[in-house]
């Protein structure tokens, strides 16, 4: 294999990591608060706001129901407005982030569901404010579940990022399609798939390790 080819594979690997990293990070920063909001605004919860809750829930469901490949194309104007271009890894990171936010939010909400209502009641009896309950009870107690959710998200983002080639996104998926499939190079195809498998394994092991570390039950 030529050194040019090796450079190409290396670059594509870094591109994939970049897209997954950026979208994963931003989706965490926005998705975790959204998940917390979905939970605490439910009827009977610490900041019960049924109307807000319904609205957030509908928006989240819409975000989750649009197939990624369609979302990617549909938000091109928005992407262009945000990063100035609609091609490249920065452009691909925008739809990846948008798709991941509601995904993260629902997984975080699910993790919060696992917390015994008694803990929230105990904190309220101690005179905790809603913000204190979120910071000192909900997030720490759901940490294991949230990390599990984020691991699932990152793994999903790895596979989604492979579709980013459709908007000239770059990365391993793009490389696999263009060199492996279109130019009939099974070696490249195999290498990209192997790298993706290793990447997913790595993220999963890291996630499992962090969950084990935070789990005290």
């Amino acid at each position: 294999m030529s050194s040019a080819m090796i450079d190409l594979i290396l670059q594509a690997t870094l591109d994939t990591l970049y897209m997954v990293g950026v979208s994963g990070l931003i989706a965490t920063l926005l998705g975790v608060p959204l998940g917390v909001l979905l939970y605490i605004t439910r009827p009977g919860q610490i900041i019960a706001m049924p109307v807000v809750n319904q609205a957030l829930s509908i928006v989240t469901n819409i975000g989750r129901s649009i197939p990624f490949i369609i979302l990617m194309v549909a938000i091109i104007p928005f992407t262009r407005m945000l990063v100035g271009t609609s091609i490249g890894i920065n452009a691909a990171s925008v739809p990846l982030t948008i798709a991941a936010i509601p995904f993260v939010a629902r997984l975080v909400e699910g993790a919060l569901n696992e917390i015994s209502p008694g803990l929230i009641e105990a904190a309220q009896a101690m005179g905790a404010t809603p913000w204190q309950i979120v910071r000192k009870v909900l997030l720490p107690e759901a940490r294991g579940g949230i990390i599990t959710g984020l691991t699932i998200t990152v793994v999903t983002l790895v596979s989604y990022s492979a579709m980013a080639g459709a908007v000239g996104g770059g990365g391993l998926g793009d490389l696999g399609i263009r060199y492996g499939y279109n130019r009939f190079n099974p070696t490249i195809m195999l290498i990209t798939v192997v790298i993706l498998v290793i990447m997913v394994q790595g993220f999963q092991s890291l996630g499992d390790y962090l969950v084990r570390k935070s789990d005290r039950k």
Binding site: S116, G118, E121, A122, A125, M126, G127, K136, E141
Partner: protein, 347 residues
Amino acid sequence: MIELSNVSKTYGSGAGAVNALRDVDLHIPEGSIHGVIGLSGAGKSTLIRCVNLLERPSTGSVTVNGQEMTRLGGQALNRARHRIGMIFQHFNLLTTRTVFDNVALPLELMGYKRTAIRHRVAPLLKLVGLDDKAGQFPAQLSGGQKQRVAIARALASEPAVLLCDEATSALDPQTTGSILELLRDINRDLGITILLITHEMEVVKSICHRVSLISDGRLVEDAAVGDFFTAPETQLGREFLNDFLQLSPPRELISRLEEAPDEHTHPVVRLTFSGDAVSTPLISRLARECSVDVSILQAKVESIQERTLGLMIAELLGTQAQTEQAMRYLESHELNVEVLGHVQRDD
């Protein structure tokens, strides 16, 4: 110290409305231990949650530490809650925090600095006997130890009142005993007023000063514990007491009991005696003075705090005139006589 007046709580509205509490009046003086006992679903849980406003009463007012809780909201309510500790049936400890950090939580919420927290938590862990467990996580502790952590946590903010929500119901009898002892010490040494809800008479018997009986959202009885255990006023109170003492006539006898007396029956009575009557040989005197024979079916002596309580189920054998005289004799000696029914003579 704790004052509930006219408190009602209704869930839902219209035809589906559920009245969890109806017109509850309760006064708990400073420094006392007050128990509320009732069957499940009677409203105990709602009642105790109305005190710190985890449940907001639909009507009526709640005053704790001289503050009318029902008028408070937001930060003022949170500040008032700092002065009210609470412990729960299932402990409700944070699983991701160590014993030390669980006890520190209320202090963190109040904005204490790290060093001040350390100074406060260490003696509390000593008080509940867990100073060697500070670094452990709740999952490593037994149920009794978890409740001790919860008690230390509830005391961290130096409350004037401690609410106990079925605090011993998930514990075995021995552990229950040691937790109750700890609560009694806390009440005595720190002067903290305790309100507890329970379905166990044992809990009421061992630590409460007064007890209220709750049924279908209403307080139907309110008495000093000694009185409640000697002469409950309501049918439900008697049922609780009989269950606790396991004193009811043998099944075989119940089936033969008849309501109305006649020439050929004699009465079966339940005698409850306390105070001096316990140590007086009343039964043998009764036999001598009224010429009746007494067949004892069941008897038991219990000590309820400082009072001794005797209970007996007996058949009085004699003519109708004799047995009536015998009952008058017993009543004149301050025994509580309850006629359970009449049975046919065997002869």
